[in-house]
Symmetry: C2
Subunit: 350 residues, 2 copies
DNA sequence: CTTACTCATGTAAACGATTCCATGGAATCG
DNA sequence: CGATTCCATGGAATCGTTTACATGAGTAAG
């Protein structure tokens, strides 16, 4: 392997390891002479410092961890990319971990990162345990360990950690108002699991939006999914079978939307004609869809930037304020007037 | 922070650090008695071993690195997910790095991983330097360092490293034959940059496929893109302006397809009617598209599995054979008979 | 010319684990 | 019963760096 150590460099340069170390890590107290000798020796030998030895002594690793639920979800891969780019600009390496919406994998990743002594943690929290209503044991350990941590996208209400979240109440309101003004009376909502903070907020923001627009909120119009494509597919069928015959639907994330859209297409339901659709997460797949899907979303690059900024604040010993991005509603042709929808009733349901 | 070390555990348990270490790392020579004492002490104190100290001494990190070009490309995020899951099953942590199709970022990531002494490397190589026709300096260092490495998805012809690749010649042939049988005479190809091995192979496999089907290969029907959405958008326009008036097109990756499809939709070109489209990479976005896009693709989960297997072989000191997955062509409604296309000529170009 | 101060350098002690080696007690065997 | 083997244990060396401290040369001030 790479058996060349700083000792080799030092002796090749004819100086002590201390001097070599000082030169290589940019310590000011070095003479131009030894600087030259050490640098050329290092280059000559192809010296590559051992990061573990270095951070064992210096107790910093210049790295952070990002815990998301799934890289395959375009929302999170966009976020991961943004976080990584901004961290990189600050000289920090980012470790990306998948929780797969699974508490065990989340804890596993956190344990590994704690062991590796990363300098900070950006977490999209998976929510509290459903029975105990507590954070997982490993999450507690992270929090009590004092390692700089921030939450992004979601927050855990009971836990005192700076968070960067998105507020979509206003956008949802706008979306519902738009649907209402187009004549839609029955609007369904395909939401996330009840243990995720974002999911809960969206259910209640949706109901509030209905109320604001003089519409009747009704549990029967909520579908409780799990943010994954398969549950979107189930929801698609549920919607068609729903006795209230909703003419419009709002979906709480992109993967569920992808699952649902596929089912509707296969069944011949014409989105934007038979059914009006609005989805959270402004990702590519929604824009190339024919017709393009109206979305409620926010700037992920911005969110990543704010997350890294906030984390660096914490790392510097400060206590940044929680910040909220305001989501934006973008109308697109997947939304049509309710008239068109009535046609569907006769067509797809005999 | 987490100031509890193995020393604390040892003294709490009333044994030496050596014994504590043996218990905690599962060494057989330990008595049930001390095992019990050490384990309970460790749990009590919330001991979390310092990974750097451990691997500094033991020279293994139980981690591998995966270098891809972009997490936001669904093809690669699917691959990353597969690699990660299989590595995880083998007790290995995966570090995912983005090259952003950029040699500098690639080298940066490799340097960091070399410093961190990962046990192995799975690389989607970015291709040789365009001027020197050589691998980058850092890549050379990786190769000469002797660290177990395999290539996945792409290969570098001149370099002797086990690779898991996909062969799409057969699928391309089938795709072209299908188009030809539907009456298409002019088929365009939107390819990748000339320095990527996969890109080159696909150009020539495409031309071979044309020849096999009695069609004339023509440079003027090649568009040289860069695998990114923006170049797909350019290609979309190029195709419409192409004097040969192609009635069908094959696109060499999903991001370019996404870029192109969006442009065509905005211009009112009806895919599957005005224009027949086949794309590489069987990703979600192609399946929810209306109409669904015919694809040439392979099983990424399988590819990830083979990559991890091959890497573990190398890590064990063996020399695995290079393996090739055979890509599959899947016909979908984005492909129609050439008749429909002739209609477009009148319609979209006055 | 002495004193004080700066500055580059080297020596050696950390950092927190693993692991080689020596030790001594218990168990086994002839 | 003495010799041999086995096995759990602790002491100490080790991995490759950084860094506190001591040193000695050079310089500026008095």
């Amino acid at each position: 392997m790479n058996a060349v150590t700083i000792k080799d460099v030092a002796s090749a340069a004819g100086v002590s390891v201390a001097t070599a170390s000082r030169v290589l890590s940019g310590h000011p107290a070095t003479s131009p002479d030894s600087r030259a000798k050490v640098e050329s020796a290092a280059k000559e030998l192809g010296f590559m410092p051992n990061a573990q030895a270095r951070s064992l002594r210096s107790t910093k690793t210049d790295s952070i961890a990002l815990l998301i639920s799934d890289v395959r979800n375009p929302y999170f891969s966009d976020l991961a990319h943004a976080v990584e780019q901004h961290a990189r600009a600050a000289g920090l390496m980012t470790f990306i971990g998948n929780a797969n919406e699974d508490a065990a994998q989340q804890d596993d990743f956190l344990a590994t990162m704690l062991s590796r002594r990363v300098d900070g943690l950006v977490i999209v929290p998976q929510g509290l345990n459903e029975e105990s209503n507590q954070p997982s044991e490993m999450m507690n350990r992270v929090l009590s360990s004092g390692i700089p941590t921030i939450f992004v996208d979601r927050a855990l209400p009971s836990i005192q950690v700076p968070a960067i979240t998105a507020n979509s109440a206003q956008a949802l309101d706008e979306a519902v108002a738009t649907l209402h003004s187009l004549g839609h009376q029955k609007i369904a909502f395909i939401g996330g699991p009840k243990h995720a903070s974002t999911a809960l907020e969206r259910y209640s923001a949706f109901d509030t939006a209905l109320a604001n627009n003089g519409l009747h909120a009704d549990e029967a119009l909520h579908f409780v999914g799990d943010f994954q494509p398969a549950s979107g597919a189930l929801a698609a069928q549920w919607l068609l079978d729903n006795p209230a015959k909703p003419s419009a639907v709002i979906i709480a994330d992109a993967p569920m939307a992808i699952g649902a859209l596929r089912v509707w297409r296969e069944l011949g339901i014409r989105v934007g004609a038979d059914l009006s659709v609005i989805t959270f997460d402004e990702v590519d797949a929604m824009l190339i869809h024919d017709p393009p899907i109206a979305t409620i979303g926010h700037d992920l690059s911005q969110m990543g930037k704010m997350a890294v900024q906030a984390l660096r604040e914490v790392m510097a010993g400060h206590q940044p304020e929680p910040e909220e991005l305001i989501s934006k509603f973008t109308l697109r042709p997947s939304v049509a007037s309710a008239k068109a929808t009535q046609v569907m009733e006769g067509k797809v349901r005999p």
